[in-house]
């Protein structure tokens, strides 16, 4: 039994593949920004002295981290529609991704915030800085710098997880692949090409985060000094 591969039939659909990859990047970018914002708010809230805020943030984080993303996206999708809101699949996908990555990045950011030495915070308070200023200028920069590699991995995983959005027919890369393979009957070639595209996307994303890290952090420090 001979195996013949025909990548040409799949590659002929390149506009659709590129469109899907672009949508995947858009989903990942929006969810990364909003999710990081949610994560920071939750991390600060969870460490804060207001008991019920800390409690709510903790419950949110545990609920999201202990259920699969597939179920979360169904819940958001059907939850919104049972409220009478029928939003486009892409909006639902972004909402679900934000809720998901918010909880994961909250835990990472919290680890970073906890790693800043108590003495630094006290020094800031002694200088008469407000709570917000202490967070903004003293705790936040080194905290984010320390967990930057973990955040990078998390955001790459988020981009890969956006493939699950194909299950509610958001038109991203995996959904494009599903369409192309049912149209060309070239399932193996389609998914190989899409897998390679995902690998390239994740390498690009890693490179982008590395470059961003260089701009944000390294130049402020002399070589050889600790963070």
């Amino acid at each position: 039994m001979g195996i013949t591969l025909d990548f040409g039939a799949v590659l002929a659909r390149w506009p659709m593949l590129l469109g899907g990859a672009w949508m995947t990047l858009e989903l990942a970018a929006v969810a990364t920004l909003l999710g990081f914002a949610i994560g920071v708010v939750c991390a600060v809230g969870r460490r804060g002295s207001v008991h019920w805020v800390a409690r709510i943030c903790g419950v949110y984080i545990e609920l999201v981290r202990n259920t699969p993303f597939l179920v979360q996206i169904f819940l958001v999708y059907f939850g919104l529609s049972s409220l009478g809101l029928s939003l486009p699949a892409v909006t639902v996908a972004i909402a679900a991704l934000c809720i998901n990555v918010g909880a994961y990045s909250a835990e990472i950011v919290r680890a970073g915030l906890d790693s800043v030495a108590r003495g630094q915070v006290e020094a800031g308070e002694t200088l008469g800085l407000s709570r917000l200023q202490v967070y903004r200028h003293i705790i936040f920069p080194p905290a984010v710098e320390r967990v930057w590699p973990a955040l990078t991995s998390q955001f790459v995983l988020l981009m890969l997880a956006s493939s699950v959005c194909s299950q509610i027919s958001a038109e991203e890369l995996t959904a494009a692949a599903n369409f192309i393979q049912s149209d060309t009957y070239r399932a193996f070639e389609t998914y190989i090409i899409v897998a390679v595209m995902y690998v390239v996307l994740s390498l690009l994303l890693r490179a982008a985060f590395w470059a961003l890290g260089q701009v944000l952090f390294v130049r402020r420090r002399r070589l050889g000094t600790a963070i």
Partner: protein, 222 residues
């Protein structure tokens, strides 16, 4: 259609949950064997083995599990390699788990202080003896909390097997929803069941982590 949630629906969900647990257990066993090999290859003395295993790890970690599942379920039969669904789901999960867990275990092996290798060498132990008698017992201690934590990821990732028609918990929920048309309460129930399975493991992992004094910060698959 529509209708009421009855005991037989609950039984169907229970069977789905059982498959989720079973698929997770299979994934952990098969993936664990693969992970051990990945970890050893990644720290191998031979450069070619190190580089080759590193490339494979990068490729698998750069691809979504869903695409790996589709590749084995739709892709292999399309080029004339017949694969039963259980095998497709199991093999994809094993590959995925083996690579991620393998990297965790490699980090654990590398976290054992260098001096332990040197001390074992001074005692004239062979490389295999050093590995199995000195390094691995300590690495197992370091790797236990993140491995328990990773079991949560495994359980959650089995939900994707529903996309290729494997009837586990998430798929059971979809099927029941197709007859009852009450998606929101059904998926709340499904989420609660996943939570009930995963949360104790999360707690256990954190307890073990606090006790061992190692608290690695790392990304986790959603």
């Amino acid at each position: 259609m529509g209708g009421h949630f009855t005991f037989s629906h609950l039984e169907f969900l229970g069977r789905g949950a059982l498959w989720t647990v079973l698929l997770s257990a299979l994934g952990f066993l098969g993936g664990g064997v693969l992970a051990f090999m990945v970890a050893l290859c990644r720290i191998s003395g031979a450069r070619i083995v190190r580089v080759a295993s590193g490339v494979i790890v990068q490729l698998v970690q750069g691809t979504p599990l869903l695409v790996i599942l589709f590749l084995s379920y739709f892709g292999l039969p399309a080029i004339g390699v017949p694969v039963p669904p259980l095998l497709a789901a199991g093999a994809s999960l094993n590959l995925y788990i083996g690579v991620y867990l393998g990297e965790t275990w490699r980090a654990a092996i590398e976290a054992v202080p260098r001096a332990q290798w040197e001390a074992a060498e001074c005692l004239a132990l062979t490389r295999v003896q050093r590995m199995f008698r000195v390094i691995l017992p300590q690495a197992v201690h370091i790797a236990t909390p993140p491995t328990v934590g990773f079991m949560v990821q495994i359980i959650k990732s089995t939900s994707l097997a529903s996309a290729i028609g494997f009837v586990e918990l998430a798929r059971a929920g979809q099927i029941i929803n197709n007859s009852l048309l009450e998606p929101f309460p059904i998926f709340v129930l499904i989420a609660a069941t996943y939570f009930a399975i995963c949360y104790p493991l999360s707690r256990l992992s954190r307890r073990l982590e606090a006790r061992s004094g190692f608290a690695p910060v790392e990304g986790a698959a959603p």
